[in-house]
């Protein structure tokens, strides 16, 4: 049965409902004296969970670009970083270094999304008409350039220290540490679910059919009357804007941004998550990301009971991740839940 035979359907609406419920429950914790207490073993799960839902927005955006449209973006972290820095710099109260303008955080978040989208549009304008591999190189280079800019322009971006004093809206409402973590997870998770709804609606609609057609054969798509440049630009800008949103949320959760949070490691993690789960499938990319991030969690516990040093352990973890990736690409080239025929990787 075709996985593409899906409009008009209720897919994505469950995510919409779940997302709204998450937001409401999160708000309940944040706005009422209601408190939760976490068992101490749970602490780390919630922390990694928060990072997972933020990265979840990143992987959904990347999958819109690569999985659905076939655009190779090796610099996704730059849009995450620009969103985070723009949000931080606009809303930071008294930063130690760099610029902090102290505007209300919703404005900062909005500007973060817009800034990432503008950068996405700029990259599209220069590279999206070219053959696919050029976009890969340009995005990779853009990420490196911005990383150096953030590190070296200390007066503006705070150098290696970054921007401190970014408002933390949920922390401001909830004094209790455990409740604050749970409320943050619920609110950010709710936003990720809403993002899921948005990308699902886009890709299940005839809009997504055009994106998949571009991935399959751009010339054919043009010859049946679709303006493929417009669609490629849109998909790229939407993916960038989502990364900007993730960045803004990260800044407002973390209370600070610094170049160390936005290394190429972020791009690598979400790419591996996407490929592991199966591109062009929203649930699969999130599941793949969960596996990769879950592995990190497991290894944190495992470290306590292994006799090796943490350096050795970290290297060993990378080897495990590498082996898993090799095995998946060898035996399930479309990813664990990916459709080999839809992705054109069978045989």
């Amino acid at each position: 049965m075709s996985v593409l035979d899906r409009l008009p359907s209720g897919h994505g609406d469950r995510a919409l409902i779940a997302g709204v419920v998450c937001l409401l429950v999160g708000a309940l914790f944040a706005l009422t004296p209601l408190r939760v207490q976490l068992p101490s073993a749970f602490y780390v799960f919630v922390e990694v969970g928060i990072l997972f839902v933020i990265y979840g927005i990143l992987v959904l955006g990347l999958d819109l670009q690569y999985g659905h449209t076939g655009l190779v973006n090796f610099g996704h972290v730059v849009f995450f970083a620009v969103g985070a820095y723009a949000t931080a710099m606009l809303s930071a109260q008294d930063t130690f270094a760099g610029i902090g303008l102290g505007y209300p955080w919703p404005l900062g978040l909005a500007v973060g999304v817009i800034a990432a989208a503008i950068l996405g549009a700029a990259v599209s304008l220069t590279s999206i008409r070219l053959r696919g591999d050029f976009l890969a190189i340009v995005t990779l280079a853009t990420a490196e350039i911005f990383h150096s800019v953030f590190v070296n322009f200390e007066d503006i971006f705070g150098g290696n220290v970054g921007i401190l004093g970014v408002p933390r809206p949920i922390a401001a409402l909830v004094a209790d540490g455990d409740t604050r973590l749970v409320a943050t997870l619920l609110v950010l998770g709710g936003i990720t679910l809403l993002t899921f709804t948005v990308v699902t609606r886009l890709t299940h609609a005839p809009y997504g059919r055009v994106l998949r057609a571009i991935r399959a054969d751009e010339l054919v798509t043009r010859s049946v009357g679709k303006s493929t440049i417009t669609y490629k630009t849109q998909a790229f800008v939407y993916g960038a804007a989502l990364a900007g949103l993730a960045g803004g949320l990260f800044a407002l959760y973390n209370g600070a941004v610094a170049p160390g949070f936005f290394t190429i490691q972020v791009t690598v993690t979400i790419w591996i998550g996407m490929l592991l789960g199966g591109a062009a499938n929203h649930r699969a990319v999130l599941a793949g990301l969960a596996i990769i991030m879950g592995l990190r969690l497991v290894s944190r516990f495992a470290l306590d009971v292994t006799p090796v040093s943490s350096d050795v352990f970290a290297s060993a973890r990378l080897i495990v991740v590498g082996l898993i990736l090799v095995a998946v690409i060898r035996y399930r080239p479309a990813g664990i839940w990916g459709d080999a025929q839809e992705l054109g990787v069978d045989q």
Binding site: L4, P8, R212, A213, D217, L219, R222, S223, K226, E342
Partner: protein, 254 residues
């Protein structure tokens, strides 16, 4: 008045003139065959007319409008649609989606209606699905409708490509070797479809090597050689023309 005309088209590839001052005019409702030995410039002519590559010189006019160098998508909107010599299916999509994709005027192909699941999108999609299913049935692909098109045979791909182009309801249909690699039964079937479409008023231009089928089918033959127009006219007359016999049998194969 001619529906589609090319005036003095020139296209060079690294010093080689693929087409050289080529002028061809096609009337509304005509069924025209384009033939010529390999390298005569048939596909380049198609590519220049359909916007795939811009010509170096000359003009292309469609329904009285200069469309020289227009993009394939804009030409598709103006009613000119083509197929490709090596069938280009959207292999990672199902047969149904291949056909549905080509539907024009689907508001759901824009962001906001797609996000809001607008009524206009759903309504249009219902019509699109009905029309796509009709075409799939007409080309007897219904048992394959949910297959990925990479699973189709060569002949079935030609049928699918035809179904996809018809989704646009074009005024001018340009077919690049629709019978190549297709078995005789299917060839007759495709030819019948083309004849029916033409009888319903669609203008059709066909590049083909399969001369027997082509000459039976078309009203007029245009023969190209080395990027120039060699002969054109009634198929029977053209095939008897000495220059054509020379080009096909006498000269070297290229």
């Amino acid at each position: 008045m001619s529906l589609l005309s090319a005036e003095g088209l020139v296209k060079e590839f690294g010093g080689l003139r693929a087409i050289d001052e080529l002028s061809v005019s096609i009337d509304d409702g005509e069924l025209v065959g384009v033939m010529g030995p390999n390298g005569a410039g048939k596909s380049t002519f198609f590519n220049c007319v359909s916007g795939v590559i811009p010509p170096d010189d000359g003009t292309v006019t469609l329904k009285g409008t200069d469309v020289t160098g227009d993009s394939p998508e804009s030409l598709a909107h103006r009613g000119l649609v083509r197929t490709f010599q090596n069938t280009r299916e959207l292999e990672t999509m199902t047969v149904r989606d291949n056909v549905r994709l080509a539907a024009p005027d689907q508001p759901g192909e824009r962001t906001l209606p797609a996000l809001l699941r607008s009524g206009s999108m759903t309504e249009r999609e219902a019509a699109v699905r009905e029309r796509a299913d009709e075409l799939i049935e007409m080309f007897e692909l219904d048992h394959l409708a949910d297959e990925y098109s990479s699973n189709l045979s060569g002949g079935q791909r030609k049928l699918l490509e035809l179904a996809r182009t018809l989704m646009l309801d074009p005024d001018v249909l340009m077919l690049d070797e629709p019978f190549a690699g297709v078995n005789p039964t299917l060839t007759r079937e495709i030819a019948d479809h083309v004849r029916d479409l033409n009888a319903d008023g669609m203008t059709v231009v066909i590049i083909e090597h399969e001369l027997e089928t082509l000459t039976e089918l078309v009203d007029r033959l245009v023969v190209l050689q080395q990027g120039r127009l060699l002969v054109e006219g009634d198929p029977e007359v053209v095939l008897e023309d000495e220059r054509v016999i020379e080009a096909y049998l006498g000269g070297d194969a290229e």
